[in-house]
């Protein structure tokens, strides 16, 4: 559910720090009908132009707080609220080349009443301004 809304087009851009491009950002929503604590957000498999992005390189910013994806299991209180757009930051020196990129997300949700949880997914072609 909500699959086609997972990747948020407007938030896609390269980011700079001290004049250097250090990576890129995209907006992400969850494929579920309620907000959940981060420990119930399972694997986020992000693929850009066919290449899988290492989870270690990813953080998400939610309502002003930033969390590494690697630490979600340790967050049984902090929530990703229903409908909130998390700003995912990927550390990648130089960022992405200007032009179109194929972005694919597969998102696992560890919801206790669904044996094994479930997955959502979205694919969009997004453009980095030149």
């Amino acid at each position: 559910m909500y699959d086609k809304y997972l990747i948020v087009t407007e938030a896609f851009k390269n980011i700079e720090q001290d004049g250097e491009v250090t990576g890129y950002q995209l907006g992400l929503r969850l494929p579920y009908y309620r907000g959940v604590v981060l420990s119930l957000v399972g694997a986020t498999e992000l693929t850009v132009d066919g290449e899988r992005v290492p989870t270690e390189a990813m953080t998400v910013t939610l309502r002003g707080r930033t969390f590494p994806f690697m630490s979600f299991e340790d967050e049984p209180v902090a929530k990703w609220e229903f409908g909130d757009i998390g700003i995912v930051t990927v550390a990648k020196p130089g960022g992405l080349m200007p032009g179109e990129h194929n972005i694919e997300v597969r998102q696992h949700m560890k919801i206790s009443y669904v044996p094994g949880g479930f997955w959502g997914g979205d694919t969009k072609a997004l453009t980095v301004a030149g």
Binding site: M1, Y2, D3, K4, Y5, R29, Y33, R34, G35, V36, V37, S39, L40, E73, D74, P76, K79, E81, F82, G83, K110, S112, Y113, P115
Partner: protein, 338 residues
């Protein structure tokens, strides 16, 4: 048909989730819409529309009651979840489960809700231990009977036995009307076609569902292996299995059993997928069920619960208020209010 009854109408705000998710409507907009649509009772999923649930701020509680007054609505039900797998590497202890639901009970009390929709993975002995707390706060713990389960399923039978033994006014069921899904929702089969399932597989699923001949191992918490085998045998793809399972998740249970079990039902989810212009639901025969509820003396709320959104959102703009409006018109007609 008995004409006197005290069944009340409400709506689960779950129905408006698409507009809330897309930030097209705020919680206040939704409550205002409920007033405009003349729906007296309000049900809310804490985790869906209450920030930081279960840690509800005093400011939210004040605002909530302010909205109830401003728009003249009545809080009815709070829907809870038991995320027993949220701690790393272990499941919750019984005591942690008790504490988690106790917090929901306190939250329901703060919000003025008299019913909690309890998710089915709260064990009967946990519920039993919570009865005194629920009674103290004048809140009913209404475990949800949801397809594919029904009154005669193993868990529900254990609960009935416990309800009879404990005799607590706070222990009861929420009944989801999805247990009376007589034919497969059209919004589901249409979606399967858009997802690229072969038309012959979609036709097969409709026919097998409607005639009760699906190869199914409907058992809570257990995977149905028979249907996937059939889909693959018909030349379906791996991803078709997920859609086939989703589209056939409903059940059509025997409404006659309601006569015996209505006394245990204190809340109802008026599940619906698609309202038709002539004022009926495409797949759930409300005209057959409501009279049985009236005869059985059901006296709680029936809360509209729109779930067609997830089936059509890939291709259409969801208009939840329009669907809820039609569902309420049907309830009014069947409850003799029209």
């Amino acid at each position: 048909m008995a004409t006197t009854h005290s069944i009340k109408r409400g709506v689960s705000l779950y129905s408006f989730q698409e507009e809330y998710f897309l930030h097209k409507m705020t919680l206040e907009d939704i409550i205002a819409t409920c007033a405009k649509l003349d729906i007296p009772g309000i049900e809310i999923i804490g985790d869906q529309m209450i920030p930081e649930y279960p840690n509800i701020s005093d400011a939210f509680v004040k605002q909530w009651h302010g909205w109830m007054d401003k728009y003249g609505r009545t809080p009815v039900c709070l829907d809870m979840f038991l995320d027993w797998n949220k701690y790393k590497g272990r499941v919750m202890t019984d005591d942690e489960r008790i504490e988690s639901v106790k917090k929901d009970i306190e939250n329901a009390h703060k919000l003025g809700c008299t019913v909690i929709r309890v998710i089915h993975d709260v064990e009967p002995d946990i519920l039993e231990r919570l009865a005194p707390t629920a009674e103290k706060h004048n809140v009913k713990l209404a475990l949800e009977i949801h397809a594919p389960s029904y009154f005669d399923s193993p868990l529900e039978q254990r609960l009935v036995e416990m309800f009879r033994r404990v005799q607590s006014p706070s222990l009861c069921f929420t009944l989801d009307m999805g247990v009376f899904t007589k034919i497969q929702p059209r919004v589901a089969s249409d979606r399967l076609l858009r997802e690229g399932l072969k038309p012959e597989i979609v036709s097969y699923l409709i026919d097998a569902y409607n005639t009760g001949t699906l190869p199914s191992t409907h058992e809570l918490g257990r995977r149905n292996d028979a249907l996937p085998a059939k889909i693959l045998e018909m030349g379906g793809r791996e991803q078709d299995i997920f859609w086939a399972m989703m589209a056939t998740h409903g059940v059509y249970s025997d409404p006659k059993l309601l006569r015996e079990y209505v006394p245990f039902v204190k809340h109802i989810h008026g599940k619906f997928y698609e309202m038709l212009p002539e004022g009926r639901e495409y797949s759930i025969p409300y005209d057959d069920i409501i009279p049985i509820l009236i005869e059985g003396g059901y006296d709680g709320y029936i809360d509209s619960e729109y779930e067609g959104n997830r089936w059509i959102q890939d291709a259409f703009v969801v208009d939840s208020p329009a669907q809820v409006k039609q569902h309420q018109a049907m309830l009014k007609r069947l409850l003799g209010e029209a």
